[in-house]
Amino acid sequence: MLETIWFLLWGILWAIYFMLDGFDLGIGALLPFVAKNEAHKRTVYTSIGPFWDGNEVWLITAGGVTFAAFPATYAVMFSSLYTPLMLILFALILRGASLELRGKTSSQTGRLLWDFCFVIGSFLPALLFGVAFANIFKGIPVDSEGLLQGNLLTLLNPYGLLGGLLFLFLFLVHGSLWLAAKSEGEVYERAGAIARMLWPVLLIIAVLFLIFTAFQTKLYENYMGTPVLFIIPALCVSALILERVYLGKHSYWKAWFASCGTIVCATLFGVIGIYPNLFPSSLDPKYSMTIYNSASSPLSLKIMLVVALIFVPIVIVYQTWAFNFFKAKVRKNEGEEEAY
């Protein structure tokens, strides 16, 4: 029971992470397409400036909870995905640094270099998280020792790449919606146009992904067993459609919230599908890391549950307050004297 609760919390934490960091990763990858001059860039950076760090803490927490609740899964997952994880880490380091240090760099070349780090550093994690999770949904060739039988290219299989594209486009649309909601003038126009342009592509990728999932993974087995769970993918698709409705009305905040729903449900769709596995092995089910063979002791799980039940609501309260505090559109020249 405790294990199942933590399995759900584990999935939810990753889902929240993708929902939150998703928009700033997406915006980063979109920078060259929405910002044509320094003022535009400033708007783009300032639109996520107060948010990205808090968003990334959800990644640290998701990682920490994997470690704490399912140590053996953490061990196998992180060591077998060594290279893609290192790539994600370097990308996150460079983009975090560029977000904070770009504004304090005065030379033109210096700023361009930071821009470059920011774009690559946002694009790469968006894609690689998708690749990694699609592979987890499908099963990863790990042996009895938790060693990966293969390399980075093994992970870049068609289904993995499709997952990568799915995440990338989810985040691109998510980011452009946020940017439209947070900006005015040219940036606003362009962000809205990009969202409208990318949405149909996202829809096609999402449909393809759902179809391929039936052939490439065993995710639907859980859904067939408990049909009520189909509500999750159904919600995902409805949120995606709702996104388009609001997009048509130029209600960008509402569209963004719908996009949050899409991302959360998309993540949960996969996570629920692999239950009770956390990290299925494609070589042999007995090598899979499950909630039964990798969970911490009941005492550890209980202590963490108490901590989570007390502190996570508090975190949500003050983070929501901070989001609300900074929700206003970025004005011209804003941030010149502040962090950017």
Partner: protein, 443 residues
Amino acid sequence: MDTLLLSRLQFAVATYFHFLFVPLTLGLSILIAIMETAFVRTKNVEYQAMAKFWGKLFLINFAVGVVTGITLEFQFGTNWSRYSRYVGDIFGPLLAIEATVAFFLESTFIAVWAFGWKRLSPKAHAISIWLVAFASSLSAVWILIANSWMQHPVGYVMKDGRPVLNDFMAAVTQPYAILTILHTLAASYIVAGFFVMGISAYHLLRKQSISLFTKSFRIALVFSLIFSIFVVIEGHMHGSDLAEKQPAKLAALESHWETGPIAPVFIVAVPDEKNARNSIEIGLIPGALSMLAFHSLNATVTGLRDIPKDERPPVAATFVSFRLMVTLGMLFMFLTIVGWFLRKRIESQRLYLKVMLYAIPLPYIACALGWTVTEMGRQPWIVYGLMKTADGVSPVAASQVAVSLVAFTLVYLVLGIAAFVLMAKHARKNPQLTPLAEQAGRR
């Protein structure tokens, strides 16, 4: 080179580099909070200009600290997967709690603070930096509890060959952890104090913004003085605690080979690890080690010869790091006491100011040495007495680690240079005062 050595090197690169930025974050956030509180109390805009000046340096430093921190958590899984699996039941929750109770608070309010200069009242703004300061020190508390557990595991029972938590409070409140926390926090506060004094000295030597930097200097001086004295006393207690809990580390700290009472300290010693002795020993102080470790001349101190060869830490590195760290600690106490007597006319003490400017790197070095003592001194164990470092490493290919090690080194080098250049640039700037009236008009 094998996976083990490469992984150790990579962890060393990642932690040393991360800990160049952490101590300043811990201490400077408190100093800025003090400055902003002074602004709220006195309405003197000079304090606000001070907070802004140091705040800019703080943000640059903070950014690098944050981005290099994520790597550390992930490295346990990527490079030390066997360790992670083994200790996950206890070590994992401590990390997860750190993120939940501290990182969210820190990251949220650093944003509110950095972007809130015009949106918040001075009081609310001061509260947000106090929250940042509190949260950063709180995160240090949790990660140090985790580290202390690796040094002195408690609160567990062995089950299926791995330690399983049975007493959470024992792990969280053990004296080893409390002493480590106090030591590390005090050392970090000294880093920040010397940083502020050094940069203030730079401006005072150039006779610019004298009033602002005299005030900055004095705040940092009092702060550093308190913690410099504290860290010496506390460090001594920490040492005595080690004597009991990690005898091998204590023996390595003093390059002490022969078990026996009236254990001496040598003013100069050159360890010869091969022959299990010191090749040079000068300036014998009889009984000093017994006295320091157990507060009794006749106390027996275990020597390295009585510790199996494969359980001895690298003596030379531990010994030299410890000696240097202690010397630096004494120097900080001396410098801040001198400063205390010069405080009233600090702006005209050119020689002292020059010394303090060049003293900026010293507390950083002391911290790095301290970690060398802690971590090298624990070897060959990754969890003292329970698991050897060699058994904790991930079964990944050496080539993979080699590539990531090179990448880490390069990325960190570039990042380090960028941060240093930016901080040096902003540290040299002469801060501008904005009168309150004008601020009100803009708000």
